[in-house]
């Protein structure tokens, strides 16, 4: 059994709305395990993204605890959170969110430079290697506006792992991609996980969910179901799909 890498206790997140409070996350208790490919699913508005952002420290929870390496993210100051993002966490957005005036290579190297443990030359060499792995080394000098959405997302994945994060968060990484690009991106994430990368992904795409080793189901801000799967094998995708579909049906998805 893998060790827990991230733990949430009694996590709540609410927003002020029309003079009242809307509770998006309601007393969530959750462990994310090392080397798992954890996928959170749920209907629109169930609080998937909010959970992801609260767990990654990108957004502050209203109450509760998010423990990483024994430290509570909820109590961390901005500088500590920035340190966490530049060293321990990686993040992939649905809309890629590359810096539009930096080339693909620079988009990958810049966060790497923040990591003081590596020299600039080492960061650049790793970035070049990652872009090659992602199959976009031929467009590394292009600006984001000059490449396709799939290439942008692959660059975003390379950016998120340049500093070899302990945990990679992904928010609907295939949400803005076509079928072909979706498959390529999911293959990349699967490969990363096979190589030991812990991943926490939020999605409502069944194809993405099939890559998970652990599935969580969120409803009204609560984790109401969990399913563990063997590592993804393309040959067994059909049976895996049936199994996951059955589980999702039981969750009234």
């Amino acid at each position: 059994m893998s060790q827990n890498i991230l733990t949430a206790h009694d996590l709540c997140k609410s927003f002020a709305h029309n003079g009242g409070q809307v509770h998006v996350l309601s007393h969530v208790d959750l462990e994310i395990r090392e080397k798992d490919f954890t996928v959170v699913m749920g209907a629109s508005g169930s609080g998937k993204s909010t959970l992801l952002y609260a767990l990654s420290g990108m957004d502050k929870a209203t109450s509760g605890q998010v423990l990483f390496d024994g430290k509570d993210l909820v109590k961390m100051k901005e500088k500590e959170l920035a340190q966490l993002r530049s060293h321990d966490f990686g993040f992939i957005f649905q809309q890629m969110h590359l810096i539009s005036n930096l080339t693909l290579l620079e988009n990958v190297t810049v966060p790497g430079y923040l990591n003081k443990g590596k020299s600039a030359a080492e960061v650049k060499a790793r970035a070049e290697k990652l872009l090659e792995q992602m199959g976009i080394s031929d467009v590394k000098s292009h600006l984001p506006s000059q490449v396709s959405g799939g290439e942008q997302q692959r660059c975003a994945i390379a950016r998120s792992i340049i500093h070899e994060p302990k945990l990679l968060f992904a928010d609907e990484p295939t949400g803005a991609l076509n079928r072909k690009n979706t498959k390529e991106v999911l293959d990349l994430l699967t490969d990363l996980n096979r190589n030991g990368q812990s991943i926490l992904m939020v999605t409502h795409d069944l194809r993405a969910a099939l890559r998970a080793s652990r599935l969580l189901y969120l409803e009204d801000g609560n984790v109401i179901g969990e399913m563990t799967l063997p590592p993804y094998d393309k040959e067994e995708e059909k049976s895996r799909e049936t199994q996951v579909n059955a589980w999702l049906s039981s969750m009234k998805w």
Binding site: A82, R85, H87, H97, V110, L114
Partner: protein, 784 residues
């Protein structure tokens, strides 16, 4: 109504822009109204003081032995002359204020009814009436207080062949004609009984250059005489020859000009700066409109989709910006009221007249109206892009920024991450920062130009190159002129003790050239004359003139002119042109041979400019030891203490710091406005940077460095502009004070202070303006 609703909403939502324009307009309007008002107030106050003192159209100082009753009668009988008035005076050349010798000519006159105004002891106001003066007291003019730093209660001592006279300064009175620090001779007042006693003691001859009896002659032209004062003086002299007998003379127009000269120059420079500031407002407005159209593309598209025409949208922009300008102009005009009083006071030590404190509303409103009209044109031009806003493009989000690599793109380096990333942010959005660069360049040009002017006022070599002789060691003969042997001895003593830059045996007097009374310098060694072209006046029928005099009288090298002095009349040839700031550049010079020919004999003044000013005191001591009591020796290593440029330097410094202060405030507003727009445009990128591990502090630093890069580029452009145009600009402006070839003297601090000030302000203000980065939430990147 729909427009008003949108106007209210826009002003509420973009109150930063609205307030920015209001603030800039407050500054511009306050600056313009202040300068226009001060300019007018100073001129009017001088005019009023002249009218109150019943100043004559032509004033002459003539030694008593030169002024005959016949000559005076001839003037009185002239058909253009209304009447002539004379005042008996004592010329006193050796006077010591607080034991320090003042080198101007003073005329002592009995306190009379012409003096109608007296200052309070702190010069802040006029007394209700002129107080009676005690027999031991003396009244001075403010110009002396400015140059010598004396105050009421200080002692003042005259030295004559008959002995010493000590008086107590009992007050300062208004003498509009020569009270100004810009005028080289001064009238001072004593009690009538004191004057009678002094006059009786003084030797009647003034040739000793120490003391003498002088009649001040005032000639008034008839009311129906339409001639200018200059034409009137030329006609009177042509018909009577009286000016040829005067050792000093001036017309009312000349004296008013001298009195007002410096305030006019400062005000002209300040007005130029105010115009630049007004230009900056128009530039920043254009920038804001352009950026707003880019940023609000979707909203404008929606407005168009809802039926708003491009005309209505442009009217909306127009109302929004014009309203901000008008509000700013009104507040600025009100705030100018205390500024007028404050700024007007800067010139009082120079003009020696308290300036009025009126607001010149008419001129200011006219100029503000011109700015508003220009604003309308600028807004019309800037809002042309509204026509191109497509509702479809706006709603489908096709109007996003697209970046391309360009020749300025440099790689982002890991070693200099902050610097290289900031540079990338700048280079990929050059157009966005063009405005900031332009504004920086303009401000830098102005700051450098004013700094150059100020530093030249403190640079010996620059002032000398422009025609001022500045010396650290002076030798004056007491009671007589130097003999030839003494002159050789003085020169050889100084040369033995130190290395000389230059030295002159010098004398000056007013001569008439083609009927115009002009200041003439006489040099024992004509080779020491500061020549610009041609050659030095070696022969006894040669002279040199300044560029300004040549232009004024239509003279060129080789021309023949008629020179007259008392009974002498003769033809001279212009052998060359030289530089001199005396009498605002209306000056000529001739050699010892020429001096003798015109009847000017002997030199009573020697000045030495030393290569090493630190030697001055030692050389002075040696001269004192070797020459004895017959000579007065003044030695000071700081030439500015010897020269009369201190008051001018103070006013130039006041102007410099005003320009600095306004530049800093403008930079603050401009940087805040551009930062705010840039921040809105880059909000998404800032979120991304935060998401990948950048702290708010680091992002603010990136902002600050980016604006530092802008300031560096703008400063460099401004410096190049200054190198190309500052000299020309200052030569043009300073021509009126006699500087026709302004020599710039770039010292390290000349450039460094404005550069550091602008760079520091840009960096600091950008860092402060970017504090909103803290509020950017990474959550904003989430699409739910």
């Amino acid at each position: 109504m729909d427009i008003l609703t949108l106007l209210r909403a826009n002003m509420k939502r973009r109150k930063g822009t609205f307030l920015g324009i209001v603030l800039l307009m407050i500054l511009v309007s306050m600056f313009l109204t202040t300068i226009f008002s001060v300019k007018k107030n100073v001129t009017r106050s001088i005019d009023d003081a002249y009218a109150e003192a019943k100043a004559a159209n032509l004033m002459m100082n003539i030694t008593n032995e030169r002024l005959s009753d016949e000559l005076l009668q001839k003037v009185k009988d002239h058909p253009l002359v209304d009447h002539v008035a004379t005042i008996d005076s004592v010329l006193m050349n050796r006077h010591f204020v607080k034991d320090k010798e003042d080198n101007q000519s003073w005329l002592i006159v009995p306190l009379n009814e012409v003096v109608t105004r007296q200052f309070t002891d702190d010069f802040s106001a006029y007394l209700d009436e002129v107080r009676p003066i005690s027999p031991e007291g003396i009244y001075l003019v403010q110009g002396i207080a400015t140059n010598e730093g004396c105050k009421v209660g200080d002692d003042l001592r005259f030295e004559t062949r008959s002995g010493e006279y000590t008086y107590k300064i009992e007050g300062f009175v208004v003498e509009p004609v020569d009270g100004s620090a810009m005028v080289g001779w001064k009238t001072v007042y004593v009690a009538p009984e004191t004057f009678s006693e002094l006059a009786a003691d003084v030797d009647v001859s003034h040739e000793s250059d120490v003391a003498g009896r002088v009649t001040i002659v005032y000639v008034y032209k008839k009311a129906d005489c339409e001639m200018s004062d200059g034409e009137f003086a030329r006609t009177i002299n042509r018909d009577t020859g009286i000016q040829d007998y005067a050792y000093a003379s001036a017309t009312m127009a000349q004296m008013k000009r001298y009195t007002n000269l410096f305030s006019e120059i400062i005000c002209s420079i300040m007005l130029g700066f105010a115009m630049v500031l007004a230009g900056v407002v128009l530039i920043i407005m254009t920038h804001n409109i352009t950026v707003t159209i880019e940023m609000s593309y979707a909203e404008l598209g929606i407005l168009k989709a809802e039926g708003f025409t491009k005309g209505r949208i442009r009217v909306l922009f127009m109302l929004q910006y014009l309203l901000a300008e008008i509000v700013g102009a009104v507040i600025g005009t009100v705030l100018s009221i205390p500024m007028i009083s404050l700024f007007g006071g800067i010139f009082q030590p120079i003009t020696a007249i308290i300036a009025k404190k009126d607001v010149d509303l008419r001129t200011s409103l006219l100029v503000l109206l011109v700015i508003l009209v220009l604003s309308v044109l600028v807004i019309l031009l800037a809002t042309r892009k509204v026509a191109k806003v497509s509702p479809v493009k706006a709603l489908t989000g096709e109007s996003r920024d697209v970046y391309f690599e360009n020749f300025l793109t440099a790689p982002v380096s890991g070693k200099n991450l902050s610097m290289s990333l900031s540079y990338r942010q700048f280079s990929s959005n050059k157009r966005r920062y063009f405005v900031a660069i332009l504004i920086t360049a303009l401000l830098m040009f102005f700051m450098l130009t004013v700094n150059l002017m100020a530093s030249c006022m403190k640079s010996k070599s620059a002032l000398e190159a422009m025609g001022t002789f500045l010396c650290e060691v002076e030798v004056r003969a007491k009671d007589r002129f130097f003999t030839e042997e003494e002159m050789d001895k003085i020169e050889s003593i100084v040369k033995e003790e130190t290395k000389l830059e230059n030295s002159i045996f010098f004398r000056n007097e007013y001569l008439t050239i083609n009927g115009n009374t002009i200041y003439c310098q006489f040099y024992r060694d004509p080779e020491t004359i500061n020549l610009v072209s041609g050659r030095a006046p070696v022969y006894d029928n040669e002279l040199v003139v300044t560029d300004i005099l040549a232009e004024d009288m239509g003279l060129k090298i080789g021309d023949k002119v008629e020179i007259a002095r008392r009974d002498f009349k003769g033809e001279f040839i212009i052998s060359g042109k030289f530089c001199s700031m005396n009498d605002t550049g209306m000056t000529m010079a001739m050699s010892d041979a020429g001096a003798k020919k015109t009847g000017v004999a002997g030199y009573g003044w020697y000045g030495a400019s030393l290569s090493d000013p630190e030697d001055a005191e030692r050389v002075g001591k040696v001269l004192e030891e070797k020459l004895g009591d017959e000579f007065k020796i003044v030695a000071d290593s700081d030439f500015s203490e010897v020269s009369d440029i201190k008051s001018i330097s103070t006013a130039v410094d006041a102007m410099r710091y005003t320009i600095y202060a306004f530049s800093v405030i403008f930079v603050l507003v401009v940087v805040s406005m551009i930062c705010s727009k840039t921040f809105s445009q880059e909000r998404r990128d800032l979120g991304i940077y935060k998401a990948i591990g950048f702290t708010s502090k680091k992002l603010r630093l990136l902002f600050a460095i980016r604006f530092l890069i802008i300031a560096v580029i703008g400063s460099a452009i401004g410096s190049v502009l200054s190198m190309l145009f500052s000299n020309r600009t200052l030569s043009m402006i300073l021509r009126s004070v006699g500087i026709s070839n302004f020599i710039s003297k770039y010292r390290t601090d000349t450039i460094l202070i404005p550069v550091l000030l602008l760079l520091g302000c840009f960096f600091l203000f950008a860092y402060l303006a970017a504090r909103r980065v803290k509020k950017v939430e990474i959550r904003e990147l989430v699409i739910e």
